[in-house]
């Protein structure tokens, strides 16, 4: 565990983390970010997360990273996930259930086709 003793230490850690994150984006990995705030949890992101993980396991998707984050302020659209394909814009999906998530995974994450129906414009 690195202890930060000065601003230089902080900058160094920052650069290391950025490099790590850049490695992820350039390694061609897809990021799926699940909104796990209170509203998200209340509307069932836990099931969404389980659905995503089991889909990834079933289909052996090695190049997908699943992360969690807080609420995004899109309470009418919860549960919300974001999908970032390598080198592409962040796409936000809302009003999801495990079935829709599976179709997002197969169409968008694997097929690269954005499903407009569930996309949330910000």
């Amino acid at each position: 565990m690195p202890t930060i003793k000065s601003l230089d230490d902080l900058t160094r850690i920052r650069e290391e983390v950025l490099k790590k994150q850049e490695l992820i984006t350039t390694s061609g990995k897809t990021e799926i970010i699940v909104g796990m705030g209170t509203v998200g949890r209340a509307t069932g992101t836990q099931e969404i997360l389980t659905a995503i993980l089991s889909y990834i396991e079933e289909h052996n998707l090695g190049n997908v990273i699943v992360r969690q984050t807080g609420d995004m302020g899109l309470d009418s659209f919860e549960p919300v996930i974001q999908v970032i394909l390598p080198g592409k814009e962040r796409v936000t999906y809302g009003k999801l259930n495990p079935e829709i998530v599976k179709s997002i995974l197969s169409n968008h994450v694997i097929g690269g086709k954005i499903i407009e129906e569930f996309k949330v414009e910000r």
């Binding site: 565990m1 690195p2 202890t3 930060i4 003793k5 000065s6 601003l7 902080l10 850690i13 920052r14 983390v17 950025l18 790590k20 994150q21 970010i33 909104g35 705030g37 209170t38 949890r41 992360r67 969690q68 984050t69 807080g70 609420d71 995004m72 302020g73 899109l74 309470d75 009418s76 659209f77």
Partner: protein, 557 residues
């Protein structure tokens, strides 16, 4: 779901009507229909537009463009050029010298959409709140490192220059508060983060705590350095289980990285943080009650003065700041006071987080520059009203003000709202359509306050209970005209005599309702009719001139 693309407002004060506002209005209706835009554009009258000599005026949202004086012949051009093609008709714009007050201010922003501008919520929804590295990658803890190279006085200077005002509701200048604590010469001081966000309908702080807890830790460390404190408490309301959990994780990580604890950044500054969970009392959001609660006592407000800045937690000088206020601090230190001043209005710089709820199409949370109008929030971010037209809004949770339709265009910042004698409060925007009854709303609010009053002082304890009883009677159809006077008196005295903010603000929605919706309350009493058809009017027996009369809703309606 009906969301409009644009909104046309025609002024309808006496002068405008005399100069043909009605004709302009019907011309707009006709032309909008001719162009087939009826579904996308809403058109309505607006009464309160301030003094000007270019009547009748036409204001078009979301661009906030003001045309005037508009004649029926000009309508075709405006509809064709502006509404259909999206070009502003320059030659019909109001001459700048004709505009005063908030119209002038509106006009100064013409052509600019009030876009969301995230400072407080910058990282929320992007980073993993349980991973400190995510926060560090987005410039996290840079501000703390910078501040430790400055003197505490310089740091307070930056916050003072930025013009940041407390976001808990009262709008007290943050820099000034910090300097009060810094001025005291006592060896032990505390910094407390007020995260007891118990105002119904407000959940902005929860988002920050859940989504970006390190921002609060960093800001509290900066505040502690500036005022000379070495210990801090985050008082989180008990219902926010996830927020408490994530804050604890964040504090643990910050300690491991040496960002909390002794000699932070190898300086002489030491700071540590504790999480204190509330137990669900509304009163503990009041700063002195919150302090009592941390000390393990009953959550009752103290008498003031002395203020917490000189005599706070365990009798030591204590700085109490709201979550949203603190979340602004790292960004101000990183980018400077001038940058912060460039956002929002001169008297209230920066952004404000609003939680939108009620009869609108999209609810949720936005962060926009100070000074945006309520109408813009509803049209642009909430995507229009659901199930009817706008009747009123309540800003700032239960203790906030009721904003009637004619104040919709008041810029939402601390001073403009104060001028209009309403308050901005904590940032909850409860939007109501015409199906909401004001008596019912007031009854629900006072019911809340009579439960949450701590009972320490009589005006609040008895006033809230009594007001609730009177309102219940009015709702049941057995109110009298004397009740109206009593309610008014109660609302005034709650404000004047109560010990703390709870009682002082409990009467404010009541007062506003009696000011702006007097006729509606009176119709409950005189006609036994609830115009919104919400109140029970349940046929309680009343006595009229010695004669028994049974009131039923059919009779009333």
């Amino acid at each position: 779901m009906k969301a409009v693309r644009s909104m046309v407002l025609v002024s309808s004060d006496a002068e405008s009507i005399a100069l043909g506002a009605n004709e302009v209005f019907s011309a707009f209706q006709q032309k909008i229909q001719d162009y087939g835009l009826s579904d996308e554009i809403s058109i309505s009258f607006i009464s309160d537009i301030g003094h000007n000599s270019a009547a009748p005026l036409v204001i078009i949202y979301p661009e906030a463009v003001i045309y005037g004086p508009v004649k029926p012949d000009d309508v075709l051009d405006i509809v064709e050029e502006h509404l259909d093609k999206g070009h502003i008709v320059e030659r019909k714009l109001v001459p700048a010298h004709e505009l005063s007050e908030h119209l002038a201010w509106l006009s100064s922003r013409k052509g600019t959409l009030p876009a969301e501008n995230r400072i407080v919520l910058k990282n929320v929804g992007l980073i993993d709140p349980e991973n400190i590295e995510d926060y560090i990658a987005l410039d996290g803890y840079q501000a703390l490192g910078t501040v430790l190279g400055k003197t505490p006085a310089e740091t307070i200077g930056i916050i003072k220059d930025s013009g940041l005002r407390g976001r808990g509701g009262a709008g007290f200048p943050t820099g000034l508060k910090w300097s009060f604590v810094a001025k005291t010469h006592i060896d032990k001081k505390y910094v407390v983060c007020n995260a007891d966000e118990s105002e119904p309908g407000t959940f902005k702080d929860r988002l920050v705590l859940e989504g970006d807890p390190h921002a609060i830790i960093e800001a509290m460390a900066i505040a502690a350095y500036a005022v000379g404190a070495d210990e801090g408490y985050v008082y989180i309301r008990g219902e926010y289980g996830l927020a408490i959990e994530r804050m604890k994780v964040a504090i643990k990580q910050a300690r491991e990285y040496g960002l909390l604890g002794k000699n932070i950044f190898s300086s002489k500054f030491s700071f540590d943080l504790h999480v204190h969970a509330g137990a669900g009392a509304y009163i503990c959001g009041e700063e002195t009650a919150l302090i009592e609660s941390i000390e393990g006592k009953r959550g009752e407000p103290r008498s003031r003065p002395p203020y917490p800045t000189t005599f706070g937690l365990w009798g030591k000088p204590t700085l109490v700041n709201n979550v949203e206020t603190l979340a602004n601090i790292p960004a101000i230190i990183r980018n400077g006071a001038d940058w912060y001043r460039s956002i929002g209005t001169p008297s209230s710089p920066g952004t404000k987080v609003y939680t939108i709820l009620g009869n609108v199409n999209v609810t949720g949370l936005i962060e926009v520059p100070m000074g945006i109008t309520l109408r813009e929030v509803i049209t642009i971010y909430a995507k229009g009203m659901k199930g009817g037209t706008f009747k009123m809004a309540q800003t700032g949770g239960s203790s906030g003000s009721i904003i009637p339709a004619n104040l919709q265009d008041t810029p939402m910042d601390f001073d403009s709202f104060k001028t209009a004698s309403v308050s901005l409060g904590s940032g909850a925007l409860l939007i109501c359509n015409q199906e909401i009854c004001v008596v019912d709303l007031a009854k629900v609010l006072l019911n809340f306050f009579r439960f949450e009053s701590c009972g320490k002082c009589n005006p609040c304890r008895i006033g809230c209970q009594k007001s609730f009883e009177i309102l219940s009677n009015i709702a049941e159809g057995i109110g009298t005209l004397q009740d109206l006077e009593d309610l008014q008196m109660m609302a005034d005295q709650l404000y004047e005599l109560s010990n703390c903010g709870l009682g002082q603000t409990a009467g404010s929605p009541l007062k506003d309702i009696l000011t702006y919706f007097h006729a509606e309350v009176e119709s409950h009493i005189r006609l036994k009719v609830c115009p919104a058809d919400t109140c029970p009017m349940s046929g309680k027996t009343i006595y009229q001139v010695g004669q028994e009369v049974k009131i039923t809703r059919e009779q009333g309606a």
